[in-house]
Subunit: 344 residues, 2 copies
């Protein structure tokens, strides 16, 4: 018997897409499903010139977070943040959130309240109303946040719209979250780097800032395809390339990273490249833009949000696959299989 | 330190309401939250004359279902059904669903596909599109379904609109699901009743039919308050009475039940009253109607959906509390604390 762990995630998504796709009720223009399984969020037509966008992300104790170094406030914050990142990747504005929370009955009320306090910190900043949810008991903590938002049809950004010759850009820095996780799991025990020094990496891991402000600029720009980097750069590139039927050529020397990540990699004898290419949970936006619009877009983004975006490569034809130019200028194939995998 | 299990569910909902209520972003007419924490679903204003309604319900293996007698198709069906029931309780039309599913990597692909097949059976019937979700691995199965729907403002039915003197009605039969669960957990092992005989109870437990067709009639009728009976009749009554600031007087002799439930109770020496009053997961609708509209409403419901609704009591002033008239005509207090509790 074939088991879930024997299937690639692409295989599961394809099967789900096939099952669900054929089951969509035939509806009129209203209620039409614009994007279903296979993008960062689902998009439904709710009226003329009006799309509803929704996403959900489940976090499980021991798998997605470790309470020995995650404060409940950070957990609440991050559970919402990863969903706001999905909405940003579609160019959508998040408006409402619901929370399903399973916790042991022995949990303190204080922990429970802190979880919501952390979530509400971000909700207020992002203009999102937390409208309800479900609380139940379990032996380990499970958090599932649903976010609903809106986008005008002409502002919607999907994964499938990359064109050959477009530049590939990324916001902020790569690998910080993976480096922060490594600090908690390995480096802190071995005394490799002081906490104060590693703090930017730690914060990137515990409190990733979803790029909703940046999305508000990007949805009014000439962006082709966009995705958020929840599972790492290589997985994000594959997401865009597979949906758009393109290849990609990325220059390692152009990848943005924090000096603390480089220092930690050096001190620990860890590969910086692994963090930048395959490290998950950065929640930066990866997107494509025709070359002639790159400079003005970078400037708008910097002026309006203070966030830098840099060109890291270009979209190629599908026959080229996904290629990395390394430090010495040599080319190699990018393997998204080295990114975070949910079932292995 | 106060723990979650030390708090009543009402206490948790009140605290959540206080935390979330004060955090709602000040928005204009669009995006306004009409109902938040404390009803079957959340209601948001998305445009003039247009409300978006959303609900979510999490099911955890070992707590909410037992795979030794629950087929994955039934699990997928029920995970959607309980959410469609929440939407029905608001008078809303469910349109889209998302699924977060955590399963062990060792699960067979066949199990996973059957789960979705069961969900899609109901989705097609109810005209709901399953638009996506999240799949991740865990040691036990967790299913969280999120449903979005729509309702016109004048058709929205909340818990807080019961009026003194209104009749209290319920659709279908009570206690069947609790009796079905009892059959699996106790009666089947002791050979008390044959499976074929218990089948209506078993089906009520494994495949509850959400009352969305009935809701389509009720939202165009003179219904005051409405709630679904996910946690039992007593909890449903409390939900309406607490929100509407009323009491209720229910006649035990009027409660509808299946003959198989009565027979099983007799044979097993179990209290039928316990199932009818405190048994959860019936997913029937409990609602209030001014007396002069009761007959025409019952007739419309029967003609348009084939589902009976019966008067089981009346709404009283809050000072009377919740009273049960028992078989012999004596009165006792209804204790919702005997219903399903999530943290004890």
């Amino acid at each position: 018997l074939v088991k879930i762990k024997d299937c690639s995630e692409e295989e599961l998504v394809r099967r789900l897409h096939d099952m669900l796709g054929t089951s969509m009720p035939q509806q009129g223009s209203e209620g039409k499903v614009v994007c279903g399984v296979g993008d960062d969020a689902a998009v439904m037509e709710t009226g003329p010139d009006r799309y509803l966008v929704s996403s959900c992300d489940m976090m499980i104790e021991g798998r997605h977070f470790d309470l020995s170094y995650t404060h409940p406030r950070d957990l609440g914050y991050k559970a919402l943040a990863i969903n706001l990142s999905d909405m940003a990747a579609m160019g959508a504005t998040a408006r409402w959130a619901m929370v399903s929370l399973a916790i042991p009955a022995e949990t303190t009320l204080h922990f429970w309240e802190d979880f919501y306090r952390g979530m509400l910190e971000l909700a207020r900043e992002a203009g999102v109303a937390v409208v309800g949810g479900d609380t139940t008991s379990s032996s380990t903590i499970v958090v599932d946040v649903f976010v609903m938002g809106e986008v005008f049809p002409q502002q919607l950004i999907c994964r499938f719209s990359a064109s050959k010759g477009d530049c590939i850009l990324v916001t902020g820095e790569l690998g910080s979250s993976a480096a922060g996780l490594y600090w908690f799991q390995e480096a802190s025990m071995r005394g490799i780097m002081e906490k104060s020094r590693a703090n930017p990496l730690i914060q990137a891991h515990l409190r990733p800032v979803p790029r909703y402000r940046e999305a508000a600029v990007l949805r009014n720009s000439r962006v082709g395809a966009m995705i958020d980097l929840s599972d790492g750069l290589a997985a994000g590139l594959r997401g865009i390339c597979a949906a758009s039927n393109t290849g990609a050529r990325v220059d390692y020397n152009l990848l943005p990273y924090r000096p603390e990540a480089e220092l930690l990699a050096e001190k620990a004898g860890h590969s910086l490249q692994d963090w930048l290419l395959y490290g998950g949970e950065d929640y930066e936006l990866l997107f494509t833009v025709p070359q002639q619009y790159v400079d003005s877009l970078k400037q708008s983004l910097e002026v309006e949000t203070g966030t830098p975006a840099v060109v890291i490569g270009e979209v190629t034809g599908p026959e080229k696959g996904m290629i990395l130019i390394n430090k010495s200028g040599a080319e190699s194939v990018i393997d998204p299989g080295r990114c975070y995998r949910h079932f292995t």
